[in-house]
Symmetry: C2
Subunit: 165 residues, 2 copies
C-alpha cells in the first residue's frame, strides 16, 4: 500500500521572528521582506493569518546564525510601516511530514495533529502545501515530536529520515 506520507523531517537550527500589528494594506509585507532580501538572509517558513482591526501578524523563520541581522532589518522596516512590535524565539524547531500523496491533506493533517497532541507537544505555528505539512514546536519537544510522527505514519527511524531540507 502506498502511504501518502513518505517521510518526516526536523529542522532544529531555526529561530522564529514575528512582526506584530502590521497595517493590513498593500505594501507592508514588501517592506518587511525587502530589508531581509537586501541582506541576503535565507528564510524558511513565512506565515501570515488574516488580519484583525486592520492589522496582521507576519512570522517567519531564519537560521539562528542570521537572527541578529534579521532583527536589525525587521525592526527598521517595522518602524517604517508603523507595525506594533517585533518578537522572536530561538527555542523552536520545525517538524514536517512530507508526501506526494497528500493532496487535499485532510487525513494527514488530522493524523499529524493527533500525533503531536498525544505526545503533549504544543503546536505554535502551522503551514502547509500539497506535499508538506509543517508545525513549529518548542525545541525541547523536537525529538519527541519527530519520534511520534514517525510512529503514527509508520516511518522507519533511520538517520536519513532526520535530514532537514
Amino acid at each position: 500500500e502506498t502511504s501518502p506520507v513518505s517521510g518526516a523531517t526536523l529542522t532544529r537550527d531555526e529561530a522564529r521572528v514575528t512582526v506584530h500589528g502590521v497595517p493590513d494594506v498593500p505594501g507592508t509585507s514588501l517592506e518587511i521582506f525587502s530589508g531581509i532580501a537586501a541582506r541576503k538572509i535565507s528564510i524558511d517558513m513565512i506565515v501570515q493569518n488574516v488580519g484583525r482591526h486592520g492589522r496582521a501578524d507576519i512570522s517567519f523563520s531564519v537560521p539562528t546564525s542570521e537572527l541578529s541581522a534579521t532583527l536589525e532589518a525587521v525592526r527598521e522596516a517595522a518602524e517604517r510601516i508603523g507595525a506594533e512590535r517585533v518578537t522572536y524565539d530561538q527555542d523552536v524547531a520545525k517538524v514536517s511530514v512530507v508526501g506526494l500523496g497528500m493532496a487535499k491533506q485532510t487525513g494527514v493533517a488530522h493524523q499529524m495533529f493527533r500525533a503531536l497532541a498525544d505526545a503533549d507537544v504544543n503546536i505554535q505555528m502551522i503551514t502547509t502545501s500539497e506535499i508538506k505539512i509543517s508545525a513549529l514546536v518548542a525545541r525541547d519537544a523536537a525529538q519527541t515530536a519527530l519520534r511520534t510522527v514517525h510512529r503514527v505514519f509508520n516511518l522507519e527511524s533511520t538517520p536519513s529520515d532526520a535530514k532537514s531540507w
Copy 2:
C-alpha cells in the same frame, strides 16, 4: 538562465474559514480537524500563527461547495474546545508561485510581495514551502494578481499556467 520560479497558479474556488481564539494548548487543532476529516472534507491551505495571551487563530481553506459542511463541523469543535468564534470568507482566491529553485525563498517571496503591492492587491494570508509561496487575496483581485506575478517572474500567460493543483 534557470529561473527559480517555474509557474504561477490560481485557485479561485476556495473559501477561507478561521477559528479565532483557540486555546493554545495541545489537542485543540486536533479537535478542529477531526470533525473535518470525519466528513472527508478536502482542505487546501492551513495557517496558524503564534498565539497571544494563550490563544491562537487557525485558518484553512476548502472548496466553496464544502463550506457549509465545514462550518457545521468547525462550529461544533470550536464550542467543544472553547474557541472564541468562527468566521469565513467566500470571496477569496489563492495565488501561488511555484519553483524547484526557490530554496530559502527570500528573493522570490520579496518579488512576489512587490508584484502584489505594485498591483495594489492586499495579501490576506501567506503560507510557504520550499517549492511554493501562496498568498490569499480577494477574489476580485485574482486576475490582476496572477497577471502581475506572471509579469514579474517572466512567465508566459498561457492557459496551462492557470491550472490549479
